[in-house]
Amino acid sequence: MTPAATTGFKRTMLQALLQTLRARNGDPLWDGSSPHCVCPLHGTGNNHAQCSLDLDRGVCTCWGDCASDGKPRRITLADIAKDRVIAAGSWSKFAPYLDTIQRTKDGRPIIIRSARRPVAEVAHDIGAQLAKTGAHYRLGRQLAEIRNGNVQILDKASEIAGAIHTNLEIAVRRRFGLQFRTLTSHDALVFSCMAPFREELPAIEFIAHGPAFDRDVQLVSPGYNARSKIFSVSESVEPRARATHLTKFLDEVSFRDQASRANYVALLLTGLFPQHWLGARPMGWIDANQSVVGKTMLAQCCAAIVSGGDVGTIRFSPEEAALGGDHGKKTSTRLARGLLASLPPGSKRASVASAMALRAKNSSLQHRISRANSSST
């Protein structure tokens, strides 16, 4: 058995740590007998009952500063050791010391189920171990897996059970030792619907198929970005110090004034922040005082940032344009499908409407877009 997985080990270490470590005001975290203690991570020492102790499991549950959204935080021995005992650069050496999960010979974790163990705790452990694989995430309320660099939603019970058994083992304790069990599809579905399971998985809020920036205007790297919750499936992009090509491109177009040029740059940038307008349809109009000056080209450039290539256009004949109201409705309906509208030469106007909302590759995003579309029509 893994030494750190035993009740005795957890109890002994937690008792010793809580009596050794001090709160910020210098008080001991625990008096040695109370069922409560000061939070070992953020406790100031003023409230000696902010954490409830579970010595046998080696955890304390913080209802104070660590709690978020009304939910308490479960603080494990590893959390305390990482935060208060081991120096920052040495944690990787000691992390295996506090691995409380038993493992198979090939290193896969074993989750113990028993009639005496709360189902929520089992769900928590399964979610935590799946999260540690680095290939499983939460997309909305669904479990998602990274396959060949793409995000795949596991929406079938059998797929969820398969993902769980591929990455870990479920066992029950018997007198002769552990007996491995298979999760039924129904069990797997129940676990995946439980909050303790879902909360352990890192959430993906947006899947970027092209270059994307987070809220701090930092270019997100390929893969999962925990801070922005963006999963980027695009190739790595090396930012340049100077916008040489952009300047060259903008110089090709004779903008009316500097403000128009700045507005167009803003339009281009809009395409780089798709996660901020997800579900909405930003629209830009490009006006000109004459035809064939490059309005459609400018619009296509905006669309290319989102879609990675040219997009289809809608053309209207002068007769259609003369219809007025019907024409506007037709445009907006088509724009919802992610097309550029190129108005007849007489109108001197091109739009870059929901070209931004193109290429919604994941179904969740498509669903949100279609929902937004249906609500707007």
Partner: protein, 121 residues
């Protein structure tokens, strides 16, 4: 085996924990003898058995206790402790005389196993 040695190296610890390391060891395993081996606070913690223990159970106990005392992950199971009163000379550091700051208390292997690896549930 009559005793086990745990090399506890303070360079791995947060500054706050370095100063209270001895207290932690005394609380986690009161039977451990403590011998500081450097001015920085590194020490050898020694667990004495009341009766000799065979290799396999001794190794299992060592694995559990080394986790409990946060001993150096690279330490060897068969490492020897520095003798009390001996001088430790390492390049770049002043000579340090090994002392004993806490006496150990021999303990039966069964008691440790019961305390650490025994599952009460």
């Amino acid at each position: 085996m009559r005793a086990l040695v745990f090399d506890v190296d303070v360079q791995f610890f947060c500054p706050e924990f370095r100063t209270s390391l001895s207290d932690y060891l005394a609380l986690a395993m009161p039977e451990l003898e403590q011998r500081p081996t450097s001015a920085a606070g590194n020490l050898h913690a020694i667990l004495h058995f009341s009766a000799p223990v065979k290799y396999e159970p001794a190794k299992a106990i060592w694995e559990a206790v080394r986790r409990l005392v946060f001993a150096d992950p690279n330490a060897n199971f068969l490492a020897k402790a520095r003798v009390v009163g001996s001088l430790k000379n390492k390049a770049g550091a002043a000579a340090f005389r090994v002392v004993q700051i806490r006496r150990g208390k021999p303990i039966a292997a069964k008691r440790i196993i019961h305390r650490l690896t025994g599952d009460s549930t």
